[in-house]
C-alpha cells in the first residue's frame, strides 16, 4: 500500500470520529438548553441518538468513540460536581456506567446492522454484475460480449479503463479495451506487455489468495511514455482460467486516488474471472460441437455430390457406350443411316457431358463466390434462338414454340452464363415434359426487367419441392417420383441469374406443367433486392 493510499484511508476514518464529536456536541448543547428549563431524569439517554446516528453512518469505531465522549461530556457538564470527572452521588455513578454500557451495546448493534445491510447491498450488486457478465459473454460474438462486460465492470468499479485478452482455441487472441483517453491508449498498447506477463505465468507467484495483482504495463512505443508514467502500478491483472488452463486476463486501470480494491471488489473480480473462464470453455465446446456438425454435413454433402455426379455423368455415358459399343460389333452390318444415328448420339451425349461438367464447374465457382459475370449488351431474341437451335437433339420429341416480341431492349449479361441458364431450363423441361407436348420459351419486358419464361406440360413441381428446387443436389424425397437430373442445372441457373442481379422462380401452370422464369434487370447497377 502506498503512502497516498494510507492517508486516504486515514482521512476516511477520521471523518467518522469528527462526526461522532459533532453529534455529541449537538446533543450536549440541546441537553444544556433543556436542563435550564426543566430537570429531567435520565436525560442522558438523548446521547444514545448521537451514538446510533454515528453507528449507522460510520460504523463500529466512531460509535464506541461517541459513547465514551458522551459519557465523559455528560459527567463533565451535567453531573455534580459539575466540571469535575468525579461523581458525588454513587447512584449517579451507577446510572452513568449503565448509560455507557447501553451506548456501547446500542452502537455495536446498529453498526452490525449497518455492516450487514452494506454487505447485502454489495452482494446484490455483485449478483447483478455477475448476471450481466454471464448474459453478455453469452452473446454470439465473443468480442462484442467481452466489450460489454468490460464496460459493465468499468462502470461498476469506477475504473478508468478495462481491457480483456482472451486466447481462443485456434490460437487467435481476442483483445478488447474500453476506457477514457490515456488509460484506454495505455491499455490498448500495453496489452502486449501484459500478454508477456501472462505467458510467462508470473502471476502464479501470488502469495496472497487474491484474484489478481498489480502489474506495470510497458507500452511498446515511446510515444505513449506519458501514459506509461501515469499508469505505472495502476493496472490490476486478474488471470482468467478455464479448466486449469490460463486463457486470458482482465486488465483494470484505476484512477490514482482509488487504486485499491476492497474485499468485495476482489471477490467480484474472482467471480467475474471464473465466469469468463466458464463462458470461454462453453464457447470452446460449442465451437467443437459446431465443427463436428459441419464435418458431418460436409460428409453428407460429399456423398450427395458423388451420387449426383455419378448419376448425371453416367446417364450420357450409358448412351455413348451403348452407341459406340453397337458400332464396334463386327457381327452386325449397320446401314449408313444407323451408323450416322449412333455417331450423332455419341456427339450429342458427349456435348451433354460437357454441359454437366460446365455446370459442376460453375457451381463450384458460385459456391466459392468467384463468379464474376463478364457482361455485354445482347439481344435476348438471338440468345433464345441460338440455345434452342443447339438443343434441338434434346427437344426433338417436343413441340418447341417461342414468343419473343420485336423491339425488346438489349440486356446487359454474360452471354455464356445466361446461355447456360436458358439451356438448363430448356433441357429440364424436355426431360420432364411428355413427348409431343409443347415447350414454350418466351421473353417480355416488365417493371424495368426482362423476364424469360420456359413453360412445359410436364408433371409440374410438387408443392413441397418448390422451395428446395434450386438447392444444389436437391433430390425429391425417396418414395416419390425423382427427377432424372438432380437439380444441379437449376442450382447453377439460380447462382448465375443472381450473379446478374436477377431472380429465378418456378410456379405450376394452370392446366398442368411448370413455368420457370428468370428476370434480368434492364438498367445497369440496379441490383434486385430480392436476389
Amino acid at each position: 500500500m502506498t503512502v497516498q493510499m494510507f492517508w486516504r484511508s486515514v482521512r476516511a476514518r477520521w471523518l467518522g470520529y469528527v462526526a461522532a464529536l459533532a453529534a455529541v456536541a449537538v446533543v450536549s448543547g440541546f441537553i444544556g438548553l433543556v436542563l435550564r428549563e426543566v430537570n429531567l431524569a435520565n436525560v442522558s439517554m438523548l446521547y444514545l441518538l448521537a451514538v446510533l446516528a454515528t453507528a449507522v453512518a460510520y460504523g463500529r469505531g466512531p460509535a464506541v468513540f461517541a459513547s465514551i465522549v458522551a459519557f465523559l461530556t455528560f459527567d463533565w457538564f451535567f453531573v455534580d460536581p459539575i466540571h469535575h470527572f468525579t461523581v458525588s452521588d454513587p447512584e449517579e455513578w451507577v446510572s452513568l456506567l449503565f448509560f455507557l454500557v447501553t451506548a456501547i451495546v446500542t452502537g455495536q448493534l446498529a453498526a452490525g446492522q449497518r455492516q450487514r445491510a452494506r454487505e447485502a447491498q454489495q452482494r446484490e450488486r455483485e449478483a447483478v454484475v455477475l448476471y450481466d457478465v454471464v448474459r453478455l459473454v453469452g452473446e454470439r460474438d465473443l468480442e462484442d460480449g467481452l466489450r460489454a462486460v468490460a464496460e459493465r465492470l468499468r462502470e461498476e468499479l469506477g475504473l478508468e479503463g478495462v481491457a480483456m485478452e482472451i486466447a481462443q482455441t485456434h490460437g487467435a487472441v481476442v483483445r478488447v479495451a474500453v476506457g477514457d483517453g490515456d488509460a484506454l491508449k495505455a491499455l490498448q498498447a500495453g496489452t502486449l506487455a501484459a500478454a508477456h506477463v501472462l505467458n510467462a505465468g508470473q502471476s502464479r507467484s501470488n502469495r496472497r489468495a487474491l484474484p489478481g495483482r498489480w502489474v506495470r504495463l510497458v507500452p511498446p512505443t515511446p510515444r505513449l511514455s506519458d501514459a506509461r508514467t501515469t499508469l505505472r502500478d495502476r493496472v490490476h491483472l486478474v488471470p482468467v482460467r478455464a479448466e486449469e488452463r490460463r486463457v486470458g486476463a482482465l486488465l483494470l486501470a484505476a484512477a490514482p486516488e482509488s487504486a485499491q480494491f476492497d474485499e468485495a471488489a476482489d471477490r467480484l473480480l474472482s467471480a467475474v474471472a471464473a465466469q469468463l473462464g466458464l463462458a470461454i470453455e462453453r464457447a470452446r465446446l460449442r465451437t467443437e460441437a459446431n465443427q463436428a456438425e459441419i464435418l458431418r454435413r460436409t460428409d453428407e454433402l460429399r456423398r450427395a455430390l458423388l451420387n449426383a455426379v455419378s448419376h448425371d455423368l453416367r446417364t450420357p455415358l450409358a448412351s455413348i457406350m451403348a452407341s459406340a459399343g453397337s458400332l464396334q460389333q463386327d457381327d452386325v452390318v449397320w446401314t449408313p443411316e444407323e451408323r450416322q444415328d449412333f455417331a450423332h448420339a455419341i456427339v450429342d451425349q458427349a456435348e451433354r457431358l460437357n454441359r454437366i461438367v460446365g455446370n459442376l464447374l460453375d457451381l463450384s465457382r458460385i459456391e466459392g463466390g468467384t463468379l464474376r459475370p463478364d457482361k455485354g449488351w445482347y439481344d435476348m431474341a438471338a440468345l433464345v434462338d441460338e440455345v434452342l437451335g443447339r438443343l434441338r437433339p434434346q427437344t426433338a420429341g417436343h413441340n418447341v414454340v417461342t414468343h419473343v416480341p420485336d423491339g425488346l431492349p438489349a440486356v446487359s449479361l454474360d452471354y455464356v452464363e445466361i446461355d447456360q441458364v436458358l439451356s438448363n431450363l430448356v433441357e429440364n423441361a424436355s426431360r420432364y415434359a411428355p413427348a409431343g407436348s409443347e415447350i414454350s420459351v418466351s421473353a417480355q419486358r416488365a417493371n424495368g426487367e426482362v423476364r424469360v419464361a420456359v413453360e412445359d406440360r410436364g408433371p409440374g413441381v410438387p408443392p413441397a419441392a418448390v422451395q428446395h428446387l434450386f438447392d444444389p443436389f436437391y433430390r425429391v424425397a425417396d418414395g416419390t417420383p425423382r427427377p432424372a437430373g438432380l437439380g444441379l442445372g437449376l442450382a447453377v441457373a439460380k447462382g448465375l441469374v443472381e450473379a446478374h442481379g436477377g431472380r429465378i422462380w418456378v410456379e405450376n401452370r394452370p392446366g398442368g406443367g411448370a413455368r420457370f422464369t428468370f428476370s434480368l434487370p434492364l438498367s445497369e447497377g440496379v441490383e434486385n433486392p430480392v436476389a
Binding site: 452407341s323 452386325v332 411428355p434 425423382r482
Partner: protein, 239 residues
C-alpha cells in the same frame, strides 16, 4: 441375325438417346421394340402390347421402377431386366426381390445387353421349373427325382442343406438370386439376417462342384446382390 425371332421388347427409360441406341440394336437383331419414357407409359404400353420382355430403368421421372415391377408381377411373369447405375446395389436387390429377373449396370455394352435379354427369354420358352426331373449344366447333372448330383458322371455327395441350396439354383438357372431370397428359402424367414451361413454353404458347394472354386463356372457371385447359377458356357455371357 435372327436371335430375336420377333420377340417383343418393351424398353422403359427416360433417356431418349439411350432408348434410341438400344432400339436400333434390338431391331437389328430381329426384336420388335416398344418404348416408354415414364412408369405410367410403361404400364399402359405393357397392357396394350403384352411384350415378351421388359427392359426397365429404375430411375423414372414419375413412378418408382419398383412400383412398375410390382404392378406387372401382380398378373404376369414376363421377364423383367432392370437397368440401374453402379452403386445402386440396394436398388438392384430390391428390384430382384420384387420379381425382376436380371439386371444390367449402366453404362453397359450392346453385346452384354443382348446376351442378358437372350438368356431371360430362353427360360420363358423352357418348361416350368420342377417338372423336369433331370437338369444338366455343362458337366453337372442334377437328378431332382432321386436327389442325385453327378459331376462328369461321378456322384457328388451333398449334405441336405447343400442339396436344398443347389436345388434352388438349379430351379432358377441364369437368374440372379439375392442373398435374402436364398436364405429365406433354404433356412426360413427367421434367418433372414444370417447371410453368413449362405456364403459358407455356397463356398462348400463350390468346393464340391467347381473345378477351380476361386474361379467358379457354375455359381457366380453378383457383388453386393447375391448369386447366379450359370448353365451356359462362360463365353456366351461375356461382358
Amino acid at each position: 441375325m435372327s436371335q430375336g425371332s420377333g420377340a417383343r421388347i418393351l424398353v422403359v427409360d427416360d433417356e431418349p438417346a439411350l432408348v434410341r441406341a438400344v432400339e436400333t440394336n434390338l431391331r437389328k437383331h430381329d426384336f420388335r421394340v416398344e418404348r416408354a419414357a415414364t412408369g405410367e407409359e410403361a404400364l399402359e404400353a405393357y397392357s396394350r402390347h403384352r411384350p415378351d420382355l421388359v427392359l426397365l430403368d429404375l430411375g423414372l421421372p414419375d413412378l418408382d421402377g419398383l412400383q412398375v415391377i410390382r404392378s406387372i408381377r401382380t398378373h404376369a411373369s414376363t421377364p423383367i431386366v432392370v437397368l440401374s447405375a453402379r452403386g445402386g446395389e440396394g436398388d438392384k436387390v430390391a428390384a430382384l426381390e420384387q420379381g425382376a429377373d436380371d439386371y444390367l449396370t449402366k453404362p453397359f455394352g450392346a453385346r452384354e445387353l443382348l446376351a442378358r435379354i437372350r438368356v431371360a427369354l430362353r427360360h420363358v420358352a423352357a418348361p416350368p421349373h420342377g417338372t423336369e426331373p433331370m437338369v444338366a449344366a455343362g458337366d453337372l447333372v442334377v437328378d431332382l427325382e432321386h436327389r442325385r448330383v453327378t459331376l462328369r458322371g461321378r456322384e457328388v455327395h451333398l449334405t441336405p442343406t447343400e442339396y436344398d441350396l443347389l436345388k434352388i439354383f438349379v430351379a432358377n438357372p441364369d437368374k440372379v438370386l439375392t442373398d435374402r431370397m436364398l436364405v429365406e428359402t433354404v433356412w426360413g424367414v427367421a434367418y433372414r439376417q444370417q447371410a453368413h451361413s449362405l456364403h459358407v454353404y455356397v463356398a462348400r458347394l463350390r468346393k464340391k462342384l467347381e473345378a477351380d472354386p476361386q474361379v467358379p463356372r457354375y455359381l457366380l457371385t453378383e457383388p453386393g446382390v447375391g448369386y447366379r447359377f450359370v448353365t451356359e458356357s462362360p463365353s456366351h455371357i461375356a461382358e
